[in-house]
Symmetry: C2
DNA sequence: TTGACAAGTTAGCTCCCGCTAACTATAATG
DNA sequence: CATTATAGTTAGCGGGAGCTAACTTGTCAA
């Protein structure tokens, strides 16, 4: 079961929610992403059977190592890409939205290259004209 | 009928094929994209009814104004993003593949910002460290 | 003329991933 | 205790976009 863009989004959301609250349930994901409960329910089932998350009796969701790895990878892309776009003069909202889509479509190689460039340009400052 | 990523890819491919040969048929698209004839047939039908292409009696496909606008927009993104990634040290193949996916997910705002930055950095040269 | 190939279409399948409607199970509350 | 709210699940729909199998059509060469 290879992860789709959709699965990556769920994992990233679980990571983010976990930073904000002590536990994450399906309903929290549902509210955060604006998806219906059944949609989340199915996604959670798939991620669980794929070994990306665990769900305890109380319905609390936790990332496994595999899930955390994916979530952190995507989250890093999201953060850096957003920053970068903002530095280039894009408004926060647009930057975040775009980063949110691009983060799933960029290869490790390209992302590392961008990261290197951003780093070299003085902690991103050179990205602002 | 709003254009999906898939539709954009077909239009871009038609544009590119048109630069290489005098006419473009469904079969050419099929070979270029590696998709089956029925898949292309359906896509062509949708693009036609969406007003993005015209198909003459001989099966030759041409972009309408609307189709050309989309194709050129996507193609410009493709070209610039690929160049950029290559400048950052990414190999041609990876750069092109990534550009090919990102080109459909970036907003006009962000793309313009990147373009501006690339332009200012001395015709992309500053992108290479 | 006939037979073969090339191009395109039709029918129908699969997977992904949203959705609603409706049900279940568990608390919380009057 | 009965009611209501909350959380989750099941069943089934719809649209996007690939695929194969099989059919049609037109052209061209033996």
């Amino acid at each position: 079961m290879a992860l789709q863009e959709s699965g990556e989004m769920y994992l990233e959301t679980i990571l983010i929610l976990g930073k904000r609250r002590s536990f994450v349930r399906a309903i929290d994901i549902s509210e955060e992403m604006g998806y219906s409960k059944p949609s989340v329910s199915r996604a959670v089932g798939l991620l669980k059977s794929g070994g990306y998350i665990t769900v305890d009796d109380g319905g609390c969701i936790a990332l496994t190592e595999a899930g955390l790895a994916v979530a952190e990878k995507i989250y890093e892309r999201h953060t850096l890409l957003t920053e970068l776009l903002v530095c280039l003069g894009v408004d926060e909202k647009t930057a975040a939205d775009d980063a949110c889509r691009i983060e799933h479509h960029i290869s490790d190689k390209s992302f590392e290259a961008i990261k290197r460039h951003a780093g070299q340009s003085g902690e991103h400052k050179r990205w602002s004209k």
